[in-house]
């Protein structure tokens, strides 16, 4: 199994989730994160003092999938999260050695 971790723009979350469902992805986990990257942050102004906010709000999606789904999932995310503007985000893939469902104790691909 692979853990696919995608950093995307927040307003793309629903699109990505909808793109994954048809592939048979039945679960995923989402966190609010702040991203620093090529996309330049925003300038905030407080009593005339300008702060450069280098961190922008992003969404991190973590989804564990069977090996054979990996490519399709990556492709689906790329498509759904794409705007073509800087800051669209990244996808990283890691290996998962083991997975277990807490409720039933099912293991590995059974557990996803």
């Amino acid at each position: 199994m692979k853990l696919i971790m995608a950093i995307i723009k927040p307003f793309k979350l629903d699109d990505v989730r909808e793109a994954l469902t048809p592939l048979g992805v039945q679960g995923l986990t989402v966190s609010e994160v702040k991203g620093f990257g090529r996309q330049k942050g925003q300038t905030e102004i407080y009593r005339g003092a300008e702060y450069h906010v280098s961190f922008l709000p992003k969404i991190k999606i973590e989804v564990v999938v069977p090996d054979d789904l990996t490519d399709q999932v990556i492709e689906a995310i790329t498509k759904a999260a794409h705007t073509g503007k800087i800051g669209d985000g990244k996808i990283f893939v890691m290996d998962i050695e083991r997975a277990q469902r807490i409720r039933t104790g099912e293991l590995d691909s059974e557990a996803l």
Partner: protein, 469 residues
């Protein structure tokens, strides 16, 4: 980075107002003098410290309704990225309308002029301190009719207090409109539009209904605290804004759940408390009518909140907090025109009707018709205002509005109901048409809406360079 403000745009604002008003000015320049003469003839009206005390307090209460009341009520219902921009709308409107009212709005609304428009005798509050000597006014304010056969209206308070109390109404009315175009209007457009709207829509309608020389007042249309002037007016203007600006990006697909309903509850609560100043203050005195106005306000509000709550509980399975507070606001709106005219019994009916009907308009009608009135400025204020304005014509109790000149007052009945319908319709038409024109003017000057990407990023950071939390 936003481009610096288009300064000439703003300075162009006062022109249309001046042009429109010139005829009125010419016709009635002599009126204030006449009024003064009349006042001199009768015994000068006496000030009453108790009435003044209540009106000073009421003014504070009504200001509390807009800042922070309405600011919180609206900000709690938008998404996180628009919270500050939404609060800024209420706050900036408070500042802008204060100046507009001082410069010309008050004069347009509450001087004699003609039946449609006041005159310019109080421009820049000219001579409003004229009766002051030794730190106090020597006589109370008289709302002069300046017209034969139309009686003056006497108060027992200084004119400054009357002007200030009315100013807080002029402030909240345009601020209510913001609910309709929340999340997408440019701030520069808002500044321009509200300035024009305050001068050319609010002030004239206030004149029609509340100035002794106003046509609706003379006709006998009843509107104690602003059902037509404030709520129907703001609500229909909101609908026009919602239609002209179009739907929010993502409307119908994105989750537009409120950011923080706790803010909305605080806001609704402050609206309720402040509304005591709005309605009971509209008696312009600390008397039995003020007491009855406060009573019916409380009862109608509670009845409407429960009406909406139970309607939702029965039809959707759960009574939501947003439902309860929305119902309360609907009740407050509906009792507004009626508050100085009806007794507790009538107020319960008005409340329940407002709660249930506005529940329907905000949850069903809106989806049926498909406009995106973000925070239901139309669904609650216009519909609630119409319910209240019409039912005022049904439940009005004579002795509350009786005077020496009119010993029967204005009791409810079919005749009164017709008058109320006239008031409602003319407000709807005038406000809708003018709002449309002023939006077009504003659009031509600076454009109305932020672009789609800015809207997605959120108005807080795009327009104001700030963020909440």
């Amino acid at each position: 980075m936003k481009k610096p403000l288009n300064v000439w745009g703003l300075s162009a604002l006062l022109l249309p107002a001046l042009l429109l008003a010139l005829p009125a000015f010419a016709d009635d320049a002599a009126a204030p003098a006449a009024a003064a003469a009349a006042a001199a003839a009768a015994a000068p009206p006496k000030l009453d410290s108790g009435d003044t005390a209540w009106m000073l307090s009421s003014t504070a209460l009504v200001l509390l309704m807009t800042i922070p009341g309405l600011a919180l009520f609206y900000a709690g219902m938008v998404r996180k990225k628009n919270v500050l921009a939404t609060m800024m709308q209420s706050f900036a409107i408070t500042c802008i309308v204060t100046i507009v009212w001082t410069v010309a709005g008050y004069s347009i609304a509450f001087t004699t002029g003609n039946a449609y428009f006041g005159d310019f005798s109080r421009i820049l509050l000219n001579n409003i301190g004229g009766f002051i000597a030794k730190g106090n006014d020597t006589q109370a304010f008289v709302l002069a009719s300046g017209i034969k056969d139309v009686a003056d209206m006497s108060t027992t308070i200084p004119e400054t207090v009357y002007m200030m109390f009315q100013m807080t109404f002029a402030i909240i009315t345009p601020a209510l409109i913001c609910g309709a175009f929340a999340d997408r209007m440019k701030f520069s457009a808002l500044c321009i539009f509200i300035t024009l709207w305050s001068l050319l829509v609010y002030s004239p309608i206030a004149h029609w209904v509340w100035a002794p020389s106003g046509w609706a007042n003379q006709l006998g249309v009843l509107d104690f605290a602003g059902g037509t002037v404030v709520h129907i007016n703001a609500g229909i203007a909101g609908l026009v804004c919602a239609l002209v600006l179009g739907k929010r990006v993502g409307y119908g697909s994105d989750n537009m759940a409120p950011y923080n309903l706790a803010y909305a509850v605080i806001g609704a609560s402050l609206l309720w408390v402040g509304w005591f100043g709005f309605n009971a203050g509209s008696a312009t005195a600390a008397n039995g009518r003020a007491g009855m106005a406060m009573t019916v306000t409380q009862i109608a509000t509670a009845a409407a909140a429960l009406g909406w709550m139970f309607a939702e509980w029965i039809t959707k399975g759960k009574p939501s907090v947003l439902g309860a507070i929305s119902g309360a606001v609907a009740g407050l709106v509906a009792i507004t025109p009626a508050s100085g005219f009806v007794l507790p019994g009538g107020s319960i009916v008005i409340g329940v009707a407002a709660g249930v009907i506005c529940f329907w308009s905000a949850t069903s009608l809106k989806h049926m018709l498909g406009y995106d009135d973000s925070l239901d400025a139309f669904g609650v204020h216009c519909i609630g205002g119409i319910v209240g304005a019409l039912l005022t014509g049904v439940f009005s109790y004579g002795p509350l509005s009786a005077t020496d000149a009119s010993p029967d007052g204005s009791p409810g009945g079919l005749d009164q109901l017709k008058l109320q319908a006239i008031g409602v319709c003319s407000t709807l038409v005038y406000s809708a048409v003018m709002t449309f024109i002023l939006l077009m003017v504003t659009k031509a000057l600076v454009g109305l809406r932020v672009d789609a990407e800015e809207e997605r990023e959120g108005l807080d950071i795009v327009l104001h360079g700030e963020q909440v939390l």
